[in-house]
């Protein structure tokens, strides 16, 4: 297949989708190529945290400024992706008062609104906090659902299979006369080759950006920093809870729908695939976070996962965390001799819109166009799955069911059949993994004990099962869940998994099915 367009975007994470949306709004044609599913990389494996910037106020004020600005914009344009929880920085007796004072001053300078709370006020708001806290500062943090954000951007940008091509990997970048003349790719499901000819190529491939650059005989260094997180079964706080000290491992707990996410670690890795969470990381996260919330020592954990932060390496000899999380826009026409190739690297989830804006500004500049960016002014379309707020979900317990539509498929996260069928209609491929991005299926207590099977059953009923063995698909799905459950297998989660074993090996005998 041979396609022609104005801009090729490589990478279907939040940055790539943000660029797609911006291009679409400015009337520029694009095609986006993503080798896996949307939000395959860091976009699908982060903390779900909408920064207020306070975390960086003291040691990276530039990043902090970006954060608070984008924080406000996102709350305006994407309210259905956000739960405006607020956040609290708590101080324990051993924490430096100097830092705290600096923290307050810096926030004020940058324009991040803070409010000091006494320990008893903080405990009133968050009863699970340690009784040892000496003070607390409230900031406008929030929780954000990165998948809703990704799919919200995608929904406005283009159509799957037309402008947005998933499971499509770039294989070659053909370079001639100081330009990328064509992009060669392959559909990983059908094996079909694809050629895209575009005026400009944008590399938004996140942790794989350096690999893509090498396809054009260019190189830069990305430091890959793995961050692990563990998820509790129940929410332990309503607000984001941080430690008021220099950012370090395990000092933040973010609420997310029905759970809390403890994070994070920072380990250099060489590999972007096969990320496992080490037992040491799990212990560290629990130990650190439980200093702020003591109940975390004994609570139930349901899952652990890791994502890779692609940090652009400006110099060397820096601690991973110290590398600026600010982003870098590389115009490969300057110094690298490839005039129509741009890389956007680094950055974080919540500054995606700004990164996209800068990227598309550069593209427009190269095109000789002056079209202003409007992505900060126009709200994202709401997806049906964008039901935020646990109270809304609770209503599903009591509503009368309409025929088939409001039937609950995932008992733990109250995902309805209607939601599922809508997701299956919208999703570009029939991969089960993507369902996890668009709905909260299998994200709850039992991590898919019942709903995995029900999902397969519904796919059969909708006649949407691929030719390959559906039991193999079911096993694959459960094997994926296993990766995340294994690091926290003790106590009640281990009991859960014994139950899952009894079901899938006992009743269904899937261990004997090849």
């Amino acid at each position: 297949m041979d396609l022609k367009t104005q801009v090729v975007i490589i990478g279907g994470g939040i940055t790539g989708l943000g660029i797609a949306r911006d291009l679409a709004q400015r009337g520029i044609e694009f095609i986006l190529l993503e080798k896996g599913n949307l939000a395959n990389g860091a976009s699908g494996r982060n903390h779900g945290y909408l920064h207020s910037g306070a975390r960086y106020a003291v040691n990276d004020p530039h990043a902090a400024r970006e954060c608070i600005r984008e924080n406000r914009i996102l709350k305006e344009i994407a309210p259905s992706c956000i739960e405006d929880t607020g956040g609290i920085f708590v101080s324990l007796p051993e924490d430096s008062r100097t830092y705290r004072d600096q923290f307050l001053r810096s926030c004020e300078e940058i324009g991040i609104p803070t409010r000091c709370l006494t320990p008893s006020e903080a405990l009133e708001l968050e009863p699970n906090l340690s009784h040892d806290i000496t003070g607390a500062i409230h900031v406008p943090d929030a929780a954000i659902d990165p998948f809703l954000l990704v799919f919200g951007n995608a929904g406005e940008a283009g159509d799957y299979g037309k402008e947005i091509l998933t499971k499509t990997a770039v294989t070659r970048l053909i370079r001639a006369r100081g330009r990328i003349t064509r992009v060669e790719a392959r559909n990983l499901v059908t094996g079909e080759p694809l050629i895209v000819r575009a005026d400009f190529v944008v590399n938004a491939a996140g942790a794989w950006a350096d690999q893509i650059a090498r396809l054009a005989d260019l190189s830069f260094e990305l430091e890959l920093s793995k961050g692990s997180m563990v998820i509790t079964n129940q929410r332990v706080s309503h607000r984001v809870i941080h430690r008021c000290r220099l950012p370090s491992d395990g000092d933040i707990v973010v609420p997310n729908h029905t759970v809390s996410i403890l994070g994070t670690t920072s380990l250099k890795v060489g590999d972007t695939d096969n990320l496992t969470v080490e037992p040491g990381e799990v212990s560290l996260l629990i130990e650190e976070a439980s200093r702020m919330l003591p109940c975390l020592t004994g609570t139930r954990y349901i899952r652990a996962y890791a994502g890779v932060r692609p940090l652009f390496k400006a110099g060397s000899g820096q601690d991973s965390r110290e590398l600026s999380r600010g982003f870098v826009l590389l115009d490969h026409g300057v110094g690298d001799g490839v005039k129509n190739f741009i890389t956007i690297a680094g950055g974080k989830l919540i500054t995606y819109r700004l990164m996209a804006e800068r990227t598309v500004d550069l593209v427009c500049h190269k095109m000789g166009l002056t079209i202003p960016c409007k992505t900060h002014l126009t709200p994202l379309p709401e997806t049906k799955a964008g039901v935020h707020g646990r109270g809304e979900y609770l209503k599903r317990l009591g509503q009368e069911a309409d025929e088939g539509d409001a039937e609950i498929v995932c008992d733990c996260e109250l995902v309805t059949r209607g939601e599922l069928e809508e997701a299956l209609r919208v999703l570009p491929t029939k991969g089960l993994g993507e369902i996890l991005h668009l709905t909260r299926l299998a994200k709850g207590t039992c991590q898919g004990a019942f709903c995995s099977y029900r999902l397969l059953g519904i796919l059969h009923a909708m006649d949407k099962v691929e030719a390959i063995n559906s039991n193999a698909q079911l096993k694959g799905f459960l094997e994926e869940r296993w990766k995340g459950i294994r690091p926290v297998l003790w106590g009640d989660q281990l009991r859960e998994h014994e139950f899952i074993g009894e079901m899938y090996m006992g009743i269904l005998n899937l261990d004997k099915v090849k």
Partner: protein
């Protein structure tokens, strides 16, 4: 303090069997359960030995022969502790729970029965309820699989699709077709567990309606399969009526939990125990046991804030694996919480599980449990008896790979039987 001859702790199949066995020998029995056992979360069939060795992917044809080999090769296995004669005795005793005329259990003689799963593949079991009689795979008659809209834990299209794939590979001699019936009784429900549907089947009007719909949907298939919801109290009558109305054999395929055949099994056991005068306390856990000089003197049952103590000559620990809390996996160690018995386990938590969930090799944790000698007394790593008047039974025992061998039911019944036989006391 009330005194009994035998106190059984745990209400799974092992505990139920132990209580039955002791009561039949004239003992005064107290049966305590923290909750209801795992009968409700399984198929309702009794797996004796489906696969041996555990890694094998072809089912065992004659379980008794394989048992002989197992007992020789694996002297630590619970089956080896029981011995072949008592395994048979236990099965006979179990079958005695059911009258020949009513709902009862069947086997294929000395052979394993290969039955169908709700995922459209096959599994080996030994004893199966009479409602599953016509579900065998040697039968070459095509099957019509009936599902119901709103019954979320059973999908007829899924099962039929996969059975037909097996047929294409020539691994099955029959084909399958599926229908799914809408039900006004279920359509308004957010949740319709199988038990709700099972009770509907006990009404004649409902059965007539279903039979009519199935008759209309049938295109010549000679067997009809339903999810395991054909009645709760009178499954035999329900099936017979449906067979009469449809003119074909009818059989059940197990669903995901809650299991209606498991419910029937539990209720049958309970009624039998009550008739035999067993005192049953359900819903409360044993909070502690008093052991002195290697002998258990009493156990305390906690119904907060009230604590009641009971004493007995003999105690049987059938509290199961992790599910019901017979074993507890703390951060880095597995413990047995009531008597603090030594638990067979590796040194580090890193070695509890393999990398893949569906590995051929059983996960090491599946072999964890309390160690027992030939008298089913709990022992330590050196083989010394820890509590002389305590016996272990069921999935709490170490050195079995019940999940992969498909031997859980058989181990539960035979160790439950042996622990209460009396010759050990």
């Amino acid at each position: 303090m009330k005194h009994y001859d035998v106190i059984v702790i745990g209400m799974g199949l092992a505990g139920l069997m132990a209580a039955k066995t002791a009561a039949e020998r004239g003992k005064r029995v107290l049966l305590i359960g923290k909750g209801i056992g795992t009968a409700h979360t399984y198929t309702g069939c009794i797996d004796l030995l489906g696969y041996y060795p555990a890694q094998s992917s072809s089912p065992v044809e004659n379980p008794f022969e394989s048992l002989r080999r197992l007992i020789e090769e694996r002297p630590d296995h619970p089956y080896a502790r029981v011995g072949a004669p008592d395994i048979r005795n236990a099965l006979t005793s179990f079958l005695g729970l059911f009258g020949e005329k009513g709902y009862h259990y069947l086997s294929q003689g000395e052979k394993n029965a290969i039955t169908l799963t709700p995922s459209g593949c096959t599994r080996a079991t030994y004893l199966f309820p009479s409602t599953m009689e016509w579900g065998g795979i040697e039968d070459s008659r095509d099957i019509l699989i009936v599902g119901f809209h709103g019954l979320k834990d059973f999908y007829s299209a899924y099962i039929a699709h996969n059975l037909n794939s097996l047929r294409k590979e020539r691994r099955l001699p029959f084909g399958a077709r599926s229908i799914s019936l809408p039900l006004s009784e279920l359509s308004r429900r957010k949740t319709a567990p199988s038990s709700v549907l099972a009770r509907l089947f006990e009404e004649e009007g409902f059965r007539n309606k279903i039979a009519e719909a199935v008759r209309t949907g049938r295109t010549g298939e000679e067997r009809v399969a339903f999810p395991a919801v054909l009645g709760v109290e009178r499954p035999r009558e329900v099936r017979k009526e449906l067979e009469a109305k449809l003119g074909t054999p009818v059989f059940e395929i197990p669903t995901l939990p809650p299991s209606v055949p498991g419910f029937r099994l539990f209720q049958t056991f309970k009624r039998d125990l009550k008739k035999k005068g067993v005192t049953i306390i359900m819903g409360f856990s044993v909070s502690e046991a008093l052991v002195r000089d290697g002998k258990c003197l009493q156990v305390t049952v906690s119904s907060p804030p009230v604590q009641r103590s009971y004493s007995a000559e003999v105690y049987i620990l059938a509290t199961g694996s992790f599910f019901g809390g017979g074993l507890e996996a703390k951060g880095d160690r597995v413990v047995e919480p009531i008597f603090n018995l030594p638990v067979h386990q590796p040194v580090s938590r890193k070695n509890w599980f393999g990398d893949q969930f569906f590995s051929d090799e059983p996960h090491p944790i599946e072999r964890f449990g309390i160690m027992v000698d030939e008298r089913l007394n709990p022992v330590d790593e050196k083989g010394r008896v820890v509590v002389g008047n305590l016996h272990g039974a069921g999935s709490i025992l170490s050195h079995s790979n019940a999940l992969r061998e498909k031997s859980g039911g058989g181990i539960a019944l035979s160790t439950g039987y042996k622990s209460a036989k009396g010759e050990l006391h």
